[in-house]
C-alpha cells in the first residue's frame, strides 16, 4: 500500500471494469458528518431488526417445519390422541405402576424456569438428598435394601431432565411388577430394550427416557 504521488491536479482515471477493489482506501473519500452517522445508524438498525427479528427466525422455522416437523414442534408425545407431554420434558410420573423420573426442584413446572442450585457443601443439600431417599424408599416400595443411584436422587440442572440412568429404572421393576400383572423377567427385557446406548462408544452415556418407557408400558398394562 504505497501512498499515491500527487503529480497532476487532475489524475487520469483509467476505465476499469469489474467489481470494485476497496483494499486501498482513497484518501480523498470524505469522512461522515454527524448527520451521516445518524442516518447510517438508523438505516442499519432498521435493516438488522428486520433481518434478525423476522427474516432469520421465520426462514429457519420454515425450513424446520419442512425437514423435521416433529422436532420443530417440540417432540410431542401422544396417548389416545391427546398430548401427554414432550419427549424432552420430564413430568411427574410418581404412580406405582409407572417408572419414575428424577426429582424436580420446580415440580416439573417449565414456567418456573431454572431452579436455584444447592451448593457443594451446603447442609441443605444433605437434607435434600436424605429427604429424597427417604421418600423414594417409603413410596417406591423398593424390595432392595441397598443404595439408590446417586444420578437418580440428585436434582438435575434443568429440573426437567427426562432421562435417568438404567440402574435407576431397574431397581423400580419390583414395584411396577407388584402394581401390574407384568412379570419381573419381562420388565427387565422391556427396560433393556428401551435403554438408549451410545451409538459410538463414550459419546454420551446409556440412559432411559422415562416418559417414552412409560408410554410404551401403558398398553401392556391395559391403560
Amino acid at each position: 500500500m504505497s501512498a499515491p504521488v500527487p503529480t497532476s491536479p487532475t489524475p487520469v482515471r483509467t476505465a476499469t471494469a469489474g467489481p470494485p477493489t476497496p483494499a486501498a482506501p482513497s484518501p480523498s473519500a470524505p469522512s461522515h458528518s454527524t448527520a451521516g452517522h445518524v442516518r447510517a445508524t438508523v438505516v442499519f438498525l432498521v435493516l438488522m431488526i428486520v433481518v434478525a427479528g423476522f427474516v432469520y427466525p421465520l426462514v429457519v422455522t420454515e425450513i424446520a417445519e419442512a425437514i423435521d416437523p416433529g422436532a420443530a414442534n417440540g417432540s410431542l408425545l401422544y396417548h389416545n390422541g391427546t398430548v401427554v407431554g414432550s419427549e424432552l420434558v420430564a413430568q411427574n410420573l410418581s404412580a406405582p405402576w409407572l417408572f419414575w423420573e428424577r426429582p424436580s426442584l420446580t415440580d416439573y413446572n417449565l414456567t418456573l424456569g431454572a431452579p436455584t442450585p444447592y451448593g457443594y457443601s451446603e447442609p441443605a443439600l444433605q437434607s435434600l438428598l436424605n429427604e429424597t431417599i427417604a421418600y423414594m424408599k417409603e413410596y417406591g416400595n423398593f424390595t432392595v435394601n441397598g443404595t439408590l443411584p446417586f444420578w437418580w436422587v440428585a436434582p438435575s440442572a434443568s429440573s426437567i431432565d427426562p432421562d435417568v440412568v438404567p440402574d435407576a429404572v431397574l431397581i423400580q421393576i419390583p414395584r411396577v411388577a407388584n402394581a401390574t400383572n407384568l412379570s419381573i423377567p419381562f420388565l427387565q427385557s422391556f427396560v433393556n430394550a428401551h435403554t438408549v446406548n451410545p451409538v459410538v462408544p463414550y459419546v454420551g452415556v446409556p440412559y432411559v427416557n422415562v416418559l417414552e418407557l412409560d408410554l410404551a408400558l401403558l398398553p401392556l398394562e391395559g391403560r
Binding site: P22, I49, Y56, G74, V83, V84, L110, Y120, D161, P162
Partner: protein, 569 residues
C-alpha cells in the same frame, strides 16, 4: 470413578476445531481485508445496495475516534430499542405467556446486558420475557454485539498494516460480518440443531396432559434459531432460563458436542484471522499456544474436581457411589468430560451459557471458571477476546523489551507510551469494575439473601464476586440466585454500569491502540527485534497473562472461593 476412555470425543472435538481454525480464520481475514471470497457474486451486489442505503462506502475509511463514535451510536441504538421493547413488552406483539412489562431498572440491566454481549439475566425467561422480546428484540443484540466485537478486532488488526491512520469503515465491517459470517452460519447451525431435536416453531405454549393427571404447560418458540446465534456470537443467553442444560435447547450428547463446536469456532479462529490480516502466517500459533495451554489446564482441573467424590455427602445413607462425575445440578445425558467441555468452553470463550448448575459445582471448578473470566482472553469473546490478548501482548512486549534491552516493537511497529497507556487502562479497568462494586455491595448492605437461601459468608462472597466478574468480562454465566438476590435495583443498576464499562472502555482502548499503530511507518526488522513467532513468546505471554491476572485478583479470591476450598465449607 472416572473412565479415561470417555475423554476421547472431547479430545477429538478440540483437535477438529484446531484443524478447522486456520482455514476459517483465513476466511475471516479475507472478509475483513476485502479480498475475493466465497459468495462474492451475490453478496457484493447486496452489500453495495446496503452501503448506498446507509449512505456510506468502503472507501470511507475511519480513524480510531470516528470508528469508535460510529460504534457507540449503533450500540446506543440497539440499547434503546431493547430498553423500550422490554418496558412495553406486555402491550407489544407476541406475549402469549402474559409476561408483564419490565421495571425500568430491570429493563436497563437487560438491555445493557444484551447489547454488551454479556446476556446476564436477572429474570426468569419463561415468565418474565414475552416471545416478542425473545424473538424480535433480543436477537437484534445477539447479532449486533457479536458483529461489534469482530469489527473491533478487525479494525485493531488493520492498524498493524496501515500508515494512513485509518482502521476501516465500521458500517462496512458490521454489514460484512453479518452477511458473510453470522447470518449464513447461524441459519446453517440452527437447521442442524433442529435435526438434533431442538424446537423451532412460532407456537408459544402447548398444554399437555401428563400421565398422572393435571396439566403441564410446555413452552416453545424459535429455540433453534435463537440458540444457534446465541452460541455462535458468544452471547450465551438462553431461550430457556436453564439455558443449554434444558433438554429442549440441548437434547443429546451429540447436540452438546455440536454446540461446543459452534461456540469454539470463531474465538479459536480469530488468531488466524489476525495472522491473515497482518499477512504473517506464523504469528497465530504462539497465541494459539497460550490459549490452548490455559484452556487445557482449566479443563483438566475442572474434570478432575468434578470427578472427585463430594466429601460433605459421606453421611448421607443409602446414597449410591458416584460415577460419571458429581450428579447434583447435572443432566443425565452427558458424560462428565462432555458436560465439562461445554461449561469450560462456554465460560472461557465468554459465551456464558451453561449446561449444568454452576452454583452446585465444587469450589475448585468454580474458581477455574472465575479465572477464565479474569483473563477474558483464552480465547475470550467474539473478537474482543483475542483483541484483549493482543493488549496483553503489547504490554508484555513493552515490559519484556525494557527488561532485556530490546526495542519494544511488534510486527515492525514501535510500541510507544500511547499504546502502553491504553493497554494498561483496558487491563486495569477489568479488576476495577469488579472490585469497586463488589466492595460497595458487600459493605453497603446491598446483599440480600433469597428466602430459603443460605447466607454462608464465603458462599455469598463468591456469589457476589462471580456476579460482577461475569458482568465485567461480558460473560453472562451466573453462579446462582440462591446465595444472593440479584433482582434488586442496586444489582440491576450497578450490574448495568459494570457491563457497559467492561465492554466499551476496553473497546475504546483496542481502537486507540490500533489507531496509534496505524499512524506509524513499518520499521524493518533489526538485530534488536523480538521474535514473536516463537515458542519462547508463547511461554512468555502465558506466564505474563497468568501472573498479572493472579496478582490482580488474589486478594478477592482469598475471601470467596479459596476460603471455601481451604475451609471445606
Amino acid at each position: 470413578m472416572f473412565e479415561l476412555q470417555s475423554l476421547w470425543d472431547v479430545i477429538v472435538l478440540i483437535a477438529l476445531v484446531i484443524a478447522v481454525a486456520p482455514f476459517f480464520g483465513a476466511y475471516l481475514g479475507r472478509v475483513y481485508m476485502d479480498r475475493p471470497a466465497f459468495g462474492d457474486v451475490i453478496l457484493l451486489r447486496i452489500e453495495t445496495v446496503i452501503y448506498r442505503l446507509l449512505g456510506t462506502s468502503p472507501r470511507r475509511s475511519m480513524r480510531a475516534k470516528e470508528y469508535l463514535f460510529a460504534l457507540l451510536i449503533v450500540n446506543l441504538g440497539v440499547f434503546a430499542f431493547l430498553y423500550v421493547f422490554f418496558v412495553f413488552q406486555s402491550v407489544l406483539p407476541l406475549d402469549a405467556t402474559g409476561a408483564p412489562n419490565m421495571s425500568w431498572t430491570l429493563a436497563f440491566h437487560s438491555a445493557a446486558s444484551f447489547t454488551t454481549n454479556t446476556d446476564f439475566t436477572h429474570f426468569t425467561n419463561e415468565s418474565q420475557m414475552s416471545l416478542g422480546s425473545l424473538m424480535i428484540a433480543w436477537p437484534l443484540a445477539l447479532f449486533c454485539s457479536a458483529a461489534t466485537g469482530l469489527s473491533v478486532a478487525a479494525a485493531m488488526f488493520r492498524g498493524f498494516t496501515r500508515k494512513d491512520g485509518t482502521l476501516g469503515n465500521f458500517y462496512v465491517d458490521m454489514v460484512r460480518t453479518t452477511t458473510r459470517i453470522l447470518l449464513p452460519l447461524s441459519v446453517l447451525f440452527a437447521v442442524v440443531l433442529v435435526l438434533m431435536g431442538v424446537p423451532e416453531t412460532l407456537t408459544n405454549v402447548v398444554v399437555a396432559h401428563p400421565l398422572t393427571g393435571g396439566t403441564q404447560e410446555l413452552i416453545f418458540g424459535p429455540v433453534a434459531s435463537y440458540t444457534s446465534m446465541s452460541l455462535l456470537g458468544t452471547n450465551g443467553g438462553g431461550f430457556y432460563s436453564a439455558n443449554a442444560a434444558s433438554p429442549l435447547a440441548n437434547p443429546s450428547a451429540v447436540s452438546n458436542l455440536f454446540e461446543v463446536f459452534v461456540m469454539m469456532l470463531i474465538p479459536f479462529s480469530t488468531p488466524f484471522a489476525f495472522a491473515a490480516v497482518v499477512r504473517k502466517r506464523n504469528e497465530a500459533w504462539p497465541y494459539m499456544g497460550t490459549i490452548l495451554i490455559v484452556f487445557a489446564v482449566a479443563l483438566g482441573l475442572f474434570i478432575a474436581y468434578q470427578a472427585a467424590t463430594n466429601p460433605s455427602l459421606i453421611d448421607v445413607s443409602s446414597l449410591g457411589a458416584q460415577t460419571n462425575g458429581y450428579p447434583v445440578g447435572q443432566e443425565t445425558r452427558f458424560s462428565l468430560p462432555e458436560a465439562s467441555l461445554f461449561q469450560v468452553v462456554s465460560v472461557y470463550s465468554n459465551v456464558g451459557a451453561n449446561n449444568m448448575m454452576i452454583g452446585a459445582l465444587s469450589p475448585v471448578a468454580q474458581l477455574v471458571l472465575l479465572f477464565g473470566m479474569f483473563t477474558q482472553s483464552t480465547p475470550g469473546g467474539e473478537g474482543t477476546g483475542f483483541a484483549t490478548l493482543l493488549l496483553f501482548a503489547v504490554l508484555g512486549i513493552f515490559v519484556g523489551g525494557l527488561m532485556v534491552g530490546r526495542t519494544p516493537e511488534y510486527l515492525g511497529k514501535k510500541i510507544s507510551t500511547g499504546q502502553v497507556r491504553w493497554s494498561a487502562l483496558a487491563l486495569l479497568i477489568h479488576p476495577a469494575s469488579i472490585l469497586i462494586p463488589f466492595v460497595i455491595a458487600v459493605t453497603g448492605g446491598f446483599v440480600t439473601v433469597d428466602s430459603g437461601g443460605i447466607a454462608s459468608s464465603a458462599h455469598t462472597f463468591t456469589a457476589v464476586l462471580y456476579e460482577f466478574t461475569s458482568e465485567s468480562a461480558n460473560n453472562g454465566s451466573a453462579l446462582s440466585s440462591n446465595y444472593i438476590n440479584d433482582a434488586t435495583p442496586f444489582f440491576n443498576l450497578a450490574g448495568a454500569a459494570v457491563m457497559l464499562v467492561g465492554r466499551f472502555v476496553p473497546i475504546a482502548a483496542m481502537l486507540m491502540v490500533g489507531g496509534k499503530f496505524a499512524e506509524q511507518d513499518v520499521l524493518p526488522p533489526g538485530p534488536g527485534t523480538l521474535r514473536t513467532a516463537s515458542a519462547t513468546f508463547t511461554i512468555y505471554i502465558t506466564l505474563f497473562l497468568v501472573i498479572v491476572s493472579v496478582l490482580l485478583f488474589l486478594p478477592v479470591i482469598a475471601l470467596g472461593p479459596l476460603a471455601q476450598i481451604v475451609g471445606g465449607g
